[in-house]
Subunit: 396 residues, 2 copies
């Protein structure tokens, strides 16, 4: 028994094969006869979706032909790592996918883009991950490409990834379950005087000890004036009673990222802050309630933003009220007033109410699965706005 | 007191200003009259070096004119986060630096590349982070650029970053100190039956509780057959007695990344494995001893690889024996047989002996500071190859 009994199954080989077939069907519709899906350490979703391999330090891509089996393209140092992970059997190493420190690897003779493209001749090559595909690699690829065009193929991949399978939904449920374990560790142990980093560390430690393969994103705690940060990283600031201590934590399970956002207040909370938190919490509950299969996404955004404006907090809106989730904590599509799609069964979102005024801000966030009826919420722990009692053993 | 007493000072504002001046001097030498230094969540070094801002989810860049003050360029959601971190006062938001999920942000009116370039007119624009700068953003930038050429400027920035200041050396010393706390937590608590992820979690938790702002890279433990992975991520595999349990941990402090690599064996260790580990450990000690100011880097690589070959393990070499360190765990330059530079005082390296045969592998890694005489090693904990006694409470 190499594996712990409790290890979650994740995605099986047949489903990986099915993903290739589904994207090949979309490629045919779009007139794309080879697809290159690119990923980095921070944006691993596309390569992991098609191969289960997950780059670190180096970058990677999956090359998918119009028909037949794909090839995993990796950097010079990842062969044994990728070999142990990849569901794609054929793996080629390219110097273009090496680390940013750009070692020479004297003596190594790796394939070139011409070698790679020979195995997968194409007239029209699509790149998924278009908006992060490096210009320097694009230049090398373009020189070796003998077809007609290299085009943005993000839409091709998104059309396949946007609806989750039963196994993917189970991954997201498990990620949410372990994310709640991370939040619970914070609720049990948080004390004034801890630093934001220490608070984020409590959640991280609990998730890694309880089945997470990693955090789903660089999790954070941001407190007091820092709570205004829509995107943040934790600092050495010591948290205090009476201020908003925003906790954003999420576990990664089999490639899928959970996320829970909760504003906590220790000790006592002034009425204005509590009212602000309640409007946000109610906006989150309203969003969850509105997110039903068949509803236009823009309609959800309009109604929720309308409620926030009517409550007197219109100036505190930055975006939202929800965004896709899956492999990435935040993935296409966004639910916003400009959205042009309808919610549909099997889509998954993080309901994400972030509001901030000049002094403070907060985020209520939980994942949901869209069904024909009411959305299935994946987490719900601690939606109260009442302050947390201050525990003994505080360091400040 | 917002800050914990023990918080490490890091880099002061004057040093950030000095970095801009030093890179401007190099730009003048290279005929580059504006520099765009680009970073991502996984590769934050350049933007953090010039601004102290550290992107997450979104990307970012620092635009440095030939003379005068720089501008920090960020995405639509990072304004309050960047405002709290950045040593650069002027901050502009660009849609091109938004998240990969590509929200619309309806109603927001952000500057364009034309607006940005108007503030910093240039004939010859250099891009640092050239090998990761996205093609799609390059296209937008090129359309707005009215000068003559956009060129790779990595060498300009590297010439400034390669020699560390006293404050930077202190950051690396502190990162190594906290990395040793992470390793110590593993040595104290590791037991057969723990998963690789749980072992990595022990180190992560200890580092975050003791002054690290984050891990320096996605740290890992890889055991048994997984120990062959030069780059790895931890899995749910349960570790066992008698096999190599490779631990690679590092703390990030004020932007600077530590790293310590240690192969551990629990219980008993067969003679062949122990001999293999000893050759690696001796290669590490030999590398540290050879790395003196004035020595050609290639000469270090040749001698160390010669020793490994003479010991009968030539086939197990993949690269090395050292690489630059600083903000990134692995940054330019690499010490390899093809290197063309001499070691010089103030350069910093991770000595990194990675060897792997068909069944097992390991890495001995520690950071060193190059001086005129013997290198200053930043960590040394547990260089023994003797097996660790198995502690009670094991789960397997």
């Amino acid at each position: 028994m190499d594996e712990k009994k409790a290890v979650f199954a994740g995605i099986d080989e047949r489903e990986f094969e099915d993903r290739i077939k589904r994207v090949q069907a979309q490629m045919a519709k779009q007139g794309i006869d080879a697809l290159l899906a690119f990923s980095t350490e921070a944006e691993p979703a596309l390569v992991r979706y098609f191969s289960d391999y997950w780059p670190s330090f180096e970058t990677a891509a999956v090359l998918i032909p119009a028909e037949g089996t794909p090839v995993l393209l990796i950097g010079p140092e990842s062969l044994t790592y990728a070999g142990a992970r990849s569901k794609i059997k054929e793996i080629l190493q390219l110097m273009d996918f090496r680390e940013s420190s750009q070692p020479d690897y004297p003596g190594s003779a790796l394939p070139t883009w011409s070698d790679v493209l020979k195995r997968c001749p194409a007239e029209r090559l699509g790149i998924a991950g278009w908006h992060m595909f490096p210009h320097a690699i694009f230049n090398n690829l373009e020189k070796a490409f003998t077809g007609k065009a290299i085009v943005d193929a993000d839409a091709v991949v998104r059309s396949v990834m946007i609806t989750k399978t039963r196994a993917e939904l189970d991954c997201l449920r498990e990620a949410a379950r372990i994310s709640e374990i991370g939040l619970k560790a914070v609720l049990d142990e948080i004390r004034p005087g801890m630093t934001e980093i220490q608070v984020a560390g409590l959640a991280t430690a609990a998730m890694l000890q309880n089945g997470a393969e990693a955090t789903g994103y660089p999790v954070w705690c941001c407190s007091g004036p820092n709570s205004r940060q829509a995107i943040s990283r934790p600092t050495h600031r010591a948290i205090r009673c009476g201020e908003i201590v925003q906790v954003c934590v999420g576990a990664k399970v089999a490639g899928y990222s959970g996320s829970i956002g909760r504003p906590l207040v220790l000790g006592q909370c002034d009425d204005a802050t509590r009212r602000f938190l309640e409007v946000g919490r109610d906006a989150e509950l309203m969003t969850i309630d509105l997110m039903r299969g068949g509803t236009p996404a823009a309609e959800v955004a309009r109604q929720v933003h309308g409620f926030i404006r009517k409550s007197g907090y219109g100036e505190t809106i930055l975006y939202g009220p929800a965004h896709g989730c899956g492999q990435m904590e935040c993935e296409y599509p966004f639910v916003e007033t400009s959205s042009t799609f309808d919610l549909a069964e099997g889509m998954t979102f993080n309901v994400d109410i972030f509001l901030a005024d000049k002094e403070k801000g907060f985020r209520w966030e939980d994942a949901v699965i869209i069904t024909a009826g009411a959305a299935e919420p994946l987490s719900s722990l601690r939606r109260e706005t009442a302050p947390l009692p201050v525990q003994e053993g505080g360091r400040a």
